[in-house]
Symmetry: C2
Subunit: 437 residues, 2 copies
């Protein structure tokens, strides 16, 4: 029998080698090193690293919603149902969920598409939100949207008319899409959002992209991100002729008001799959058994939060108002503060938890970056990190029009930290211009 | 722009069409139909369907361990830390976990490999179990073992020396492996476990399989299941020369004493990957962000359960003793009862929650099955379901030596149900022999 180390750079799945995931890329790696250096007492121009690379509201100080967490606690440990400090509507929700769990345990597998209660709740939510009825058997739950995006994109891995499959994605985009496209061996076709027009999606640009990609590939899917990540633009309707194509509509507990990233819950609605294709999708999902039942419970609470007249409503309303106020304040303040830095421009931020400012980089800085064999925006972000301790993500990780430079920063930090960041960006950039102009 | 329904049976990823997953296959589909018929009042020779197709102890009445569930409840809802009914060691565990969550929230993403606390705890557990030290940075957490098996197998998707990659798996096997191999477009190479020898793995059979598979493929991985699923044999050591190859060692919270299936937690240890291959593995994992933080907490409790002297220990010990006693009783009783049925044989069940009896099927039954275009063992299981309401999985779903027939049944049912099942198998089989001999 032939025995050797069989997984090498040459013999490993080559698609995996090409995954780029800037959100957890080289700038973050350096940030982690710097944190360790600070711990060892190495002197730096700052006291601590500020992580602004991942859109994780809880990691930046947003508190979880009490209703969601009380429901999770009682589903996990039904002994606590007798606890007098837990409101009645929480207990009712828990009973309803446990009735849908086999033998009343969150430790039993759910059906692979999810608990039927939660799938119905998602369908109801979609109906109320969009005014179009949704069938619960077309709703599938997953471990966040990432998990479901991968299964859906995997459906397209097949040549058509002798051409390899491609997927159209917006630029800038969230690198889950480019990364998953690489992982699955699909081709990526970029359509550019219009920065001058608040990152709007332009039909003629979609058509240009489709025409060019169709020369040597078969365009099989179009990704639309709404609200944009990282750009924050909100798109309202695609309209005909796109509306006749298959549709996969994703959402996740990680974003939105609840911002429950660590619980891993999301859903996809797939209303128009052919039966045999649906069976293939379901077979792939069944291999993973089911998504976390506790994650499903969190999604249930998000789909159907407390309503007026229910015991948990006043507290939930206060918590929600505080989160919305903080998000709106940060979004406005970030766009204003970033836009006021000389050489920066920043679109209004409508619906996302990120800002994606554009930064003018002097020619000498671009040359310095090229000498170090990194892109100019990565060079900028690495210098920013070394001098201010702020860890952001270079625009090239999301894609940008050639010759333009951006970075993505989260805007969810608590007020003091947020003001420190904005002031640091300003000082750093003025200093950077002085050095490289 | 060309617009049409683009996902059809012809244009969908063909690998997904070929996924077979018998555990949730046609017999279960019919069982679900029958449940609905019973609800509508359709008369059957039985009152309810007994699901014996999935190894889900909680679904069969095993109670969750209080320690695990109390920890989950307090991690989810730290307000309950003041609850006087919760033991001190639970509160200490919760503090320790929340210190490793960013800003103390299970709603923040963990690192994609998992919380460092839990990865260290797995490494410590492996060290204590195997007597060989394990590095926590080689431990990766996932949403059950299924999730991690898929990422690890995906590493091998690459032709070597002009030959397509193949994976050696035991027959019988758990269909996660055959299903994932199909999904990834790998080739499956079967090595047969020796039923006459308590499902032992025989070196000469491994070598036969490798030799035959190597004619037109490159064998890149060998799957060993220990304790066997579905066969229940326990393998102790592989020894040289296998011990020099890369190793991926999986485990899951779904099996073992805790049997927490719905929480979706598992780990893989990957001690010997080349650095560039490890980076590719980590990139693929990072696209999925992180596994459920609450699932990780459950794994933490399983890796380091309460010890003598700690407040939760007496209750935990009682609960564990009850589970072990029930499992041992069921395993012995199932092997005995199944072995006593004329035409059945059943190996001792050492370490799994399933029995996999071999059943002699008369030639006339095989002909009847062929006329219906189903395999003889599927025919048998469908008849069993129609006449007794018991839903088991045909042996062909796991693989079996050609000409032999088996089914897999869980043995975790509570005593009364269990006795009903064994008696039903006996009566049904005697009747079946009468009909088809």
């Amino acid at each position: 029998m032939k025995l050797e180390q069989c997984l090498t750079e040459k013999t490993v799945n080559q698609n995996l080698l090409s995954i780029q995931y800037a959100v957890r890329g080289p700038v973050l790696e350096r940030a982690v090193q710097i944190e360790k250096e600070l711990e060892k007492g190495v002197s730096k121009p700052f006291k601590r690293v500020v992580r602004a690379n991942i859109g994780d509201a809880h990691a930046l100080g947003q508190k979880p919603f009490t209703f969601i967490r009380q429901v999770l606690a009682l589903v996990a440990c039904p002994e606590l149902m007798t606890s007098p400090s837990i409101p009645e509507d929480v207990k009712e929700r828990v009973k309803e969920i446990l009735e849908d769990c086999i033998k009343g345990s969150a430790g039993a597998y759910s059906p692979s598409g999810g608990l039927s209660l939660v799938r119905r709740r998602v369908a109801q939510y979609l109906h109320e939100r969009d005014g179009v009825s949704a069938a619960s058997e077309h709703v599938y739950l997953g471990a966040g949207a990432s998990d479901l995006v991968k299964t859906v994109l995997s459906l397209f891995v097949h040549d058509v008319d002798g051409k390899p499959p491609s997927v159209m994605i917006p630029i800038p985009q969230y690198p889950l899409f480019s990364g998953t496209i690489s992982e699955l061996g699909l081709r990526q076709a970029n359509y550019y959002l219009d920065e001058e027009n608040s990152w709007a999606l332009m039909i003629q640009e979609l058509e240009r992209c489709w025409r060019e990609a169709s020369v040597d590939s078969h365009v099989r899917a179009l990704v639309v991100i709404n609200p944009g990540n990282p750009t924050g633009q909100v798109m309202h309707e695609m309209g005909a002729p796109y509306s006749s194509m298959e549709l996969a509509s994703f959402s996740t507990s990680s974003k939105g008001w609840a911002a429950e990233c660590g619980l891993r819950a999301g859903y996809v609605e797939l209303p128009r799959l052919a039966p045999r294709v649906r069976a293939a999708f379901e077979a792939s999902r069944a291999l993973q058994q089911c998504p976390s039942v506790l994650g499903q419970c969190a999604l249930d609470c998000i789909m159907r939060p407390p309503r007026a007249g229910e015991a948990s409503f006043p507290r939930w309303s206060r918590e929600r108002a505080a989160v919305r106020r903080a998000l709106a304040e940060r979004a406005n303040a970030a766009a204003r503060a970033l836009g006021a830095i000389p050489g920066y421009s920043c679109n209004p931020i409508d619906g996302a938890v990120f800002a994606f400012p554009r930064v003018e980089l002097p020619a000498r800085a671009q040359i310095a970056a090229a000498e170090l064999n990194v892109s100019a925006d990565e060079f900028y972000c690495l210098r920013l990190l070394e001098e201010t301790g702020i860890c952001v993500v270079p625009g090239s990780g999301f894609g940008q029009l050639p010759g333009t430079f951006h970075f993505r920063t989260t805007i969810l930090h608590q007020r003091e930290e947020f003001e420190h960041m904005m002031e640091s960006f300003r000082r750093f950039h003025i200093d950077f211009l002085r050095k490289y102009s």
